[in-house]
Amino acid sequence: MTDEIKVKMTDVRKAFGKKVVLDGVTLEVKKGESLVIIGGSGTGKSVTIKCIQGLLTPDSGSIQVDGKEIVGMNAKELESVNAQTGMLFQGAALFDSLNIWENVAFGLIQGKKVKRAEAKEIAIKKLAQVGLSADVASLFPDELSGGMKKRVGLARAIAADPELIFFDEPTTGLDPIMSDVINDLIRSCVKDLGATGITITHDMSSVRKIADKVAMLYKGKIIWYGDVADIDRCHNPYIEQFVNGRADGPIQMEIRG
């Protein structure tokens, strides 16, 4: 781990209509570090990473990746920034019309102009890395189980050897054992690549497994940031409530949105 900063968000604000989702988020992620953002549903976790990827444009504030300002970047520059990132989506978001290896190799074939035969070889290698055999390569996404789809999504995210990988609720909807498998894979993939990871989740077992640093988002603000080891002894009432999953405490769930 170096002291180089990979992603830097400064006072990022984003509102949809009257609903303020991000209310001044400031965050730094060092190169090679794995940051996990935790928080309840609807606290702006997804919006945060979508802003970093340029899928959403913040209303104000600055976001830098490798020192380059993302906000206000044109589509072409953004494409070259995205070429160095990967993302595992919550629902895997595999392309239904393409088979598994074409899905994994998509970024290589379309983005990096790798030849199809060569891309297929890389795809099969990446599938093996996430524990899938070459047999699944020619299947289609709807023939796979949820856990397998997540693995394929992971293989696709790491296919182009990205420097920055996002994980959007990687274990949601999986059984505890498969969750652990995915957590292990995330850990090992990020380590092997020496990549920087940003994960959003509300699954505490993933937090403990994946995270180097943890940031907690509540009502559009980072209310706690620190080492993963500190979450159990920080005595922050918000963190304590979240980690232990209690209904009563300083965090009040908005029953009506």
Partner: protein, 257 residues
Amino acid sequence: MNIFAPVGRVFLNFLRSVGRLTIFTLKSLSFCVRPPFYFRTLFSQMVEIGFYSLPVVALTTMFSGMVIALQSYSGLSTLSSEGVVASVVELTVTRELGPVLAALMVAGRVGAAMAAELGTMRVTEQIDALTTLSTNPFKYLVVPRILAGIIMLPVLVLIGDVIGIYGGYLICIYKLNFNMTNYLRNTWNFMQSVDIISGMTKAAVFGFIVTLMGCYNGFYSKGGAEGVGKATTNAVVVSSILILISNYMLTELFFSK
């Protein structure tokens, strides 16, 4: 409550959609001429629109040609000008019914499918996934579909014209006992190049409308299954209306003196 508020809201929403559609259209058109081009998807869309719509278009134009022959005969025979039937069939099919009916059929078949496909890709985050794999979703999804529509609809209409005229011919020869040679000579002599050119131009414009509306509605659909359903309905309804309106305008442009 202020009674002007809902009126204003509807009006502002209308302006917002018009603006968004305009930007979408301009963006799509500008990406049509900028590399990279996705020939593989362009080809599969051309097959989808051109080849698989052929049976529906053939049936509609065939029966329309037949019905025009019957109706114009029942009208014109009272004026004892049966000889004009051939030219009536030729004119209506090539100038109006061929392009309009083919476009409406393609709107129901292809426009709806595009809206549903792109809508599902939107709500399952597949469109976001494209961006993260440094592929521009406009270039990869929208441009091939729109180009395929503009290229293939004229081809479909040309085939539909032939089949529609043949339908009229069948009725006149086998049911109304016309002289075959006279009928064909009449058809050929009445045919002007402007009939075909106007029909083809209309077809290209309709192809653009159908695919643009399919892509636009799908691209911006939101809210899960219900949203995709709405997008599909909108795509078909709006493109059908636009086809009929623009048909009038193009007719005015070509034939009013």
